[in-house]
Point group: C2
Chain length 373, copies 2
């Protein structure tokens, strides 16, 4: 029996290209995983997600355990079958969302009791229950249940929180049922403190995981501080395991994190932006609600193969947004997911060709063009 595994295909400086092999197929890395919160990438069919080149998506334990419920998803054949997504799925542990429910949750050393934001009903998550839920969902990649350290936090607070997460990581490893092509990822915590990050990496590698995530970033520390933590942490991680930066980020964040050795990403930004009239393009970000697009017959992005760009003008998309037509968010979400996939494909090709720095500079220069124009 062989667990999910990652193999390198090439490196360029700190950036790595590779292939992740899972029970539901292989995924070229670096990879951006669109977020399918409640069993759907919002405003997209699974077919349209696939059409962007996306090969792996994320599902949310918190949302799915509340509705439709983990046992129900299992009875419906698992998340892959329910959502018609036949590629790999990574599920988060539920920890991040539960910790965000200030006032509605109560932590103890064993786990967290909380109330549903939907109907106020009481629920409990422990490391064991989180792993069980992710098993019921059928996740290819299961994430350890950890405490999300608040930001900002003192070094002492951060240490206490990180050590609790490390204890829980051992419980998650024990609870996880190994299966061919499935894997469990540990999550490095320790906030902005190098020594704590190193202690966390040591604790996790001692336990041993199929991949390592870096948690507790993109919580308000800023891009420079995030990069500093990555530079201090990534070199400590085993070179033969995939590295996942959770909840990140903007296209610029992704380029910077790939340069620092990250292989996997997820973020709600492309989907959420699609529902708030924003389009990521090779020439920067567009606010499609803006009246300057009202008679613009050009596409969102002349370099983009998505249907929004191939079939429609900025003027039409502006009209759809102004008229509150569902097709507006549908087209913008599709475009943004496509943009992120195209971006990751360009970065991967550049790593394999040994021209990552030049490609990153060219992409960033494109964003500047519009700012100048």
């Amino acid at each position: 029996m062989s667990a999910l595994r990652w193999t390198a295909a090439g490196t360029d400086g700190g950036a790595r290209a590779g292939v992740l092999r899972t029970a539901h197929g292989t995924v070229p890395t670096p990879v951006f995983m669109p977020v399918g919160t409640a069993g759907t990438v919002k405003a997209m069919t699974a077919d349209s997600v696939r059409a962007t080149g996306a090969r792996m998506i994320l599902g949310n334990t918190y949302h799915l355990m509340l509705r439709p419920g983990a046992e129900r998803v299992a009875r419906l054949g698992g998340l892959h079958r329910m959502a018609d997504w036949h590629g790999p799925i990574l599920t988060d542990s539920g920890g991040f969302q539960v910790m965000s429910l200030s006032g509605l949750r109560k932590m103890d050393a064993d786990g967290v009791t909380f109330r549903s934001h939907i109907d106020g009903s009481a629920h409990r998550l422990t490391p064991e229950r989180s792993i069980e839920i992710q098993h019921l969902l059928g996740a290819d990649v299961t994430m350890c249940f950890d405490e999300c350290t608040p930001f900002p936090a003192t070094e002492a607070q951060t240490a206490t929180s990180m050590r609790l997460s490390m204890a829980w990581a051992a419980r998650c490893r024990a609870a996880f049922v190994p299966r061919d092509g499935y894997g469990l990822f540990g999550i490095v915590q320790g906030g902005v403190f190098n020594a704590l990050r190193a202690e966390s990496v040591a604790a996790l590698t001692e336990i041993g995981f199929e991949g390592y995530a870096i948690g507790g970033l993109a919580v308000g520390e800023g891009q420079a501080e995030m990069y500093r933590v990555l530079e201090a942490t990534v070199p400590l991680l085993p070179a033969d395991r995939p590295r996942y930066l959770m909840g990140v980020g903007t296209p610029d964040d992704l380029i910077g994190a790939v340069a620092r050795g990250i292989d996997m990403f997820d973020c709600v930004l492309p989907t959420r932006s699609g529902r708030t009239a924003r389009a990521y393009t090779s020439r920067g970000v567009l606010n499609m609600r803006n009246a300057r697009h009202a008679e613009d017959l050009s596409p969102l992005d002349p370099d983009c193969p998505c249907p929004a760009c191939q079939k429609h003008s900025r003027a039409y998309i502006h009209h759809l947004i102004r008229a509150d037509e569902i097709l507006g968010p549908m087209l913008l979400t599709w475009h943004n997911i496509q943009y992120y996939q195209t971006l990751m494909g360009r970065l991967r090709a550049a790593i394999l060709d040994g021209r990552f720095t030049e490609e990153a500079a060219a992409i960033r220069a494109g964003w500047q063009e519009r700012a100048i124009a």
Copy 2:
């Protein structure tokens, strides 16, 4: 130069099959036109509308004149190009929506002044301006601007209203610019009064139109009364012109109206129902919000080729509706449009095979199955 025209392909009792030839292609009739109110069939891409077999859609003059504006649509290349819809489009005249703005509108013999429901701005529609707007939009079928007679109304009120519409019909005919493959339809009014319907048909056929619509029905008179008016009116219409029953209706209404010689339909029912969790199926109407679907692994309709039915369970669609996911309305709208297209295809095939009565009975029997089960 030849205007838009309809040719018969076969009849079975009162039901007719034919082909409508327009500037943007041919359309087999009887045809159901999905409603694309503001330049989009709500929650559908144009590609997905086409995938259901739909060949012709409807656009709304009222909505499009207010936003993005008829002159702007023309500058964007017309409605076909703006919406990526390359088949024929029929536009209504704006009359129905404007008449519905009670309190916000003022009628006179020349036209209607009204305030926009969007921003309260003042606008005016006359027969000439309605025809001009529909020309700017690029409609293959332009509809005469008429007064929608209130329901209920006395015979005297109905007569006055109908005669005003007939005077406006002559002005519409004069204002319409004939072009190859384009056409203008007159609208028969007269409420539930046979003599007034006959007078209206006589007035319109005296003017001469490329097609004839029956207006002022489906406004509360009930199906039996609607059928009675059709039986009194349709035989008076020229047999070589297409007949369009405006704003109708349920699948059962369509069968009954096709039986009475109607060729064309539009209705918001399949799209609106898709956004309110209702699915039309070969076994009746389903309310997908209902908890009984929560673990039902069967498709909405086992006989349906749409993606909602081919790829997903009732349980998943129920989950999407409960979770307020946009994909719920997207899938249900697609399914409902597909259901209407499949229905019209079955009716047309049955007419050509001389078994319309049997097919209609079989379809209606299917709806009963679930009521019994």
